[in-house]
């Protein structure tokens, strides 16, 4: 078995899983900053403009009114900035909590330290909440985060927002209003990554207008198309839109049939999700999947799913459609009589999950000391075999196979032979 040569903790490689943790608050802070910039710019223009017009008026009442208006603008600006500042403070707090969490890892020297277990538990909780958020189980995610005290380490608001918009896209009516609003908010960033999301949404708007078939709606649709589809790099949308007008909603002609189909909404929802994750530098797949499949592979051995597994959890039994085997085992003691801890892959929770995963690669055999083989072919360490037999209360000089429980076959110690595993 490939054993870790040292139990020293290698921080950098450990933190592979935790990169997105620090990235997200940073991205949100940037977004925050850009909003602040935008607000200030707008206010600047507004106030400068009103002051400009003021100089041409001479009547005091008008001046006063104009000044009041300017004052109002400035105060609005202040209010907005205050809100942004509050959000910034929250983000800073989150960032600090996350940096502290990762910093803790640096204080732990080895993997076998008990502090590492605590840290690993927090990490697992974090991954679980992340998974729950992505699968849209928002209430459970929030409850778990609060129960474990990791609200600052996970990004619940971001995913709640995302889930809301996605649900609206997927919902019964296929509302794209929220999604369009989101696009407007993030226009700059979307343009930087060259996203087609907005175009697709506008096309959907167009499709809805064209679907009605009424003349005035069609005219509206044409105006809409002129506004949004012209001037972009991609003439495809303009052409498609034009072609769509010529076909009725129940047309059989591709690609217009596909455009009219309600399956466009799930497509839009998926597109939104992908775009959202790219924008915020979130990995496309839940981190839990990554960590768990790597772990399953690393732990799995060919025996985990074999019928001869001494650790066999009930899962390999449940596949025997033969009722007699299950009734037999119901009468005997549960199979795990040996005192080794149960392998996670053999446990009920993960056994089925690990079936499709490749097993770990080993270059050296890993065996207990002084292996001996019983006449039925099972191999044990001699001392462990002896200890188990004492616990079973087997009479002196006789040895029984512990995996078969109390009803196993019995032999004399002389029949047990030494085996050499190189």
């Amino acid at each position: 078995m490939a054993e870790l040569t040292s139990t020293k903790l290698d921080f950098d490689s450990h933190l592979l899983l935790d990169q997105p943790l620090l990235r997200l608050p940073h991205e949100l802070l940037r977004k925050n900053l850009k909003s602040a910039q935008r607000h200030i710019e707008i206010a600047n223009k507004g106030i400068a403009a009103s002051i400009q017009t003021l100089t041409t008026h001479s009547s005091p009442a008008e001046t006063l009114a104009a000044l009041d208006a300017t004052l109002l603008k400035a105060q609005t600006l202040k209010r907005k900035l205050k809100a942004l500042h509050a959000e910034e403070a929250t983000l800073h707090r989150q960032q600090k909590a996350r940096i502290a969490h990762l910093q803790e890892l640096h204080d732990i020297p080895t993997i076998v330290d008990v502090k590492y277990d605590v840290w690993a538990q927090t990490r697992l909780d974090r991954l679980l909440v992340d998974y729950l958020l992505r699968q849209n189980y928002l209430a459970s995610a929030r409850q778990l985060a609060e129960a474990k005290g990791i609200v600052d380490l996970v990004d619940i608001p971001v995913f709640e927002e995302c889930g809301r918009i996605e649900a609206s896209l997927r919902g019964a009516n296929g509302e794209y209003g929220d999604a369009l609003g989101w696009c407007a908010e993030n226009k700059q960033a979307l343009k930087k990554i060259g996203s087609i999301l907005e175009m697709e949404l506008r096309l959907q708007q167009f499709i809805e207008m064209a679907r009605t078939g009424e003349m005035d709606k069609l005219m509206e649709a044409i105006a809409h198309a002129r506004k949004h589809f012209v001037g972009g790099q991609d003439t495809l949308y303009g052409l498609r839109a034009g072609g769509l007008l010529a076909h009725a909603p129940d047309t059989m002609v591709e690609p217009y049939k596909m455009m009219y189909a309600p399956t466009r909404y799930p497509y839009l929802a998926a597109l939104f999700l992908r775009t959202h994750h790219t924008l915020f530098a979130l990995p496309a797949h839940p981190l839990l999947h990554t960590a768990v499949s790597a772990g399953l592979s690393a732990l799995k051995t060919p025996t985990c799913h074999s019928a001869h597994n001494p650790h066999r959890g009930m899962s390999s039994l449940q596949h025997s459609s033969d009722k007699t085997t299950s009734t037999m085992s119901r009468q005997s003691v549960p199979p795990l009589l040996t005192d080794t801890p149960v392998c996670p892959i053999c446990s009920t929770e993960l056994n089925e999950l690990a079936r499709g995963v490749p097993y770990a690669h080993h270059t050296k055999s890993y065996m207990e000391d002084d292996p001996v083989v019983l006449p039925n072919g099972r191999v044990f360490g001699r001392d462990r075999l002896r200890g188990l037999n004492v616990k079973l209360g087997v009479p002196e000089g006789r040895v029984r196979d512990p995996t078969d429980g109390l009803g196993g076959a019995e032999w004399g110690w002389g029949e047990v032979r030494k085996v050499f595993i190189l």
Binding site: E88, H92, L288, A298, L336, V342, T348, E349, S365
Partner: protein, 469 residues
């Protein structure tokens, strides 16, 4: 790491929006002042309105420039943070790589290796088994004692699966039946036993009822709670008595440890016991009660634990001056209680045939250790533009600490391949073990052959004896 912290501190101290806020405040004051001056001019000034306004323009422009500078400051702070971040995680973009997806996904359709580095491959792996992943999460939540979260989770999953089924997507959610209970939250105080029995899929030997697992874990947490927080050993002792046969078959010390702790408790914290009111001296009531307890319970432990029992009873003689006696180590309660709690948890989960530490935790830890190796390997693969050929087995070794070796591993010394269902280990008459295929290749066509490692010759018919490692 420190660089990140410094960058972060810079952000919180001065590179944030608070400076901008002050600037805007300043602007507002300016405007307000001008307005007031125009509205009700102070008596001794004759400044006209247009002049006031003209005077405004300059300061306003300046204020806005200052605001923009403040924002630039924030931008700089953010850039500094980003640099520190890039410095720290330089080159370790294991999770964002798309390119190596094909090389990993090429391992075979059914074997989606869900590596982060191969996002294409990941979609074939765990993502395709949503139901099973969710079941694992639900069981994990139960194990951790988060019953409310678990029931919320089950509810949400059922709700989602119902809405998905109406879309026509088939998913396997039969496991949900084992988790839903008739009552909304698991009653922690109650001890439900026999309900209607159903053959569930989770355990073959023990008959399943609805919500079986939930009840079992609720019971465990109830007992643990009593043990840890209320210093009440009675439920634990009761449970140990009920399961004493199974515990004995595993040579578990739980029952005796519990009895010993109870003895110690009675000894050190005397409770006024009306039945022994004939004893006038209160300072002896503790040891007397302990003695009574010992008389009733210790005899059952006699053959195995004689030594420990005599030690405990000998301590009775030292009751007036316990701290100075040689027995005082036996009576320090706190560490014992913590270790008993652990022992109880381990025994409980072993009897349920579950691993004692949550499998998801072990798996995630193993994953965290294995991921760097695997990502490095896929980096190399993508650079040399090859793909890995074995789909059943990982191509590279992933070392794990000794605590994560749960099985014995056999690697044939000749072919260096692991023993599998198709190619099992066989033992030669001399005691050496090879893979079946290696033996067949070695002995092909010959009636007798020699073991590769020792001079023993043997006849080959029937091959070697299969061994189960």
């Amino acid at each position: 790491m420190d660089a990140l912290l410094t960058a972060h501190n810079t952000l919180t101290t001065h590179a944030n929006l608070s400076t901008t806020l002050t600037t805007v405040d300043h602007l507002i004051d300016l405007l307000q002042q001008t307005r007031d001056n125009i509205a009700g001019p102070p008596p001794n000034t004759t400044v006209s309105a247009p002049l006031q306004i003209a005077k405004l323009k300059g300061p306003i422009r300046q204020t806005f420039e200052k605001a923009e500078e403040d924002l630039k400051e924030v931008n700089k702070g953010l850039n500094g943070y980003q640099k520190a971040w890039k410095e720290k995680f330089k080159g370790k973009d294991g999770l964002g790589m798309e390119g190596s997806g094909e090389s990993l996904g090429g391992g075979g359709g059914g074997v989606g290796l869900g590596l982060g580095a191969g996002s294409g491959g990941a979609s074939g792996g765990l993502a395709g088994q949503k139901g099973l992943v969710e079941r694992a999460i639900a069981m994990h939540l139960l194990r951790e004692g988060e019953f409310h979260v678990a029931s919320t989770f089950v509810k949400e999953v059922s709700a989602q699966s119902r809405s998905r089924n109406s879309d026509g997507i088939e998913e396997d959610h039969s496991w949900l039946d084992d988790f839903t209970t008739d009552s909304d939250n698991v009653d922690m105080e109650d001890e439900h036993l026999e309900d209607d029995y159903e053959d569930g899929e989770l355990y073959a030997p023990e008959v399943m009822e609805r919500g079986y697992l939930q009840r079992k874990f609720a019971e465990m947490y109830r007992i643990l709670d009593a043990l840890r927080n209320h210093h009440n050993l009675a439920p634990a002792i009761h449970w140990a008595n009920v399961h004493s046969d199974e515990l004995g078959a595993r040579a578990s010390n739980l029952e005796f440890e519990l009895a010993r702790l109870r003895f110690v408790e009675l000894y050190t914290s005397p409770q006024p016991d009306p039945s022994t009111s004939d004893n006038p001296d209160p300072s002896f009531s503790g040891p007397i009660a302990a003695l009574h307890y010992a008389r009733t319970t210790f005899p059952s432990f006699h053959p195995r634990y004689t030594h420990e029992i005599s030690a405990l009873l000998g301590a009775l003689a030292f009751s007036p001056s316990l701290p100075t006696s040689p027995y005082h180590t036996l009576f320090s309660q706190e560490p014992t209680r913590a270790s008993i709690a652990t022992l109880f948890t381990t025994s409980f989960t072993t009897l349920l045939a579950l691993p004692s530490s949550p499998p998801l935790l072990t798996t995630t830890n193993a994953g965290a250790l294995a991921l760097p190796v695997l990502t490095k390997y896929s980096h190399i693969l993508s650079r040399t533009r090859s793909s890995w050929t074995t789909s059943q087995e990982l191509p590279v070794e992933t070392p794990l600490p000794g605590s994560m070796n749960f099985h014995n591993i056999f690697v044939c010394p000749v072919s260096k391949e692991q023993g599998t269902e198709a190619n099992w280990p066989v033992m030669l008459p001399c005691g050496h073990v090879l893979a079946r295929e290696s033996l067949e290749a070695h002995a092909r066509g010959k009636g007798r052959c020699k073991c590769p490692y020792c001079p023993v010759e043997f006849r080959v018919e029937g091959g070697g004896k299969r061994v189960f490692i």
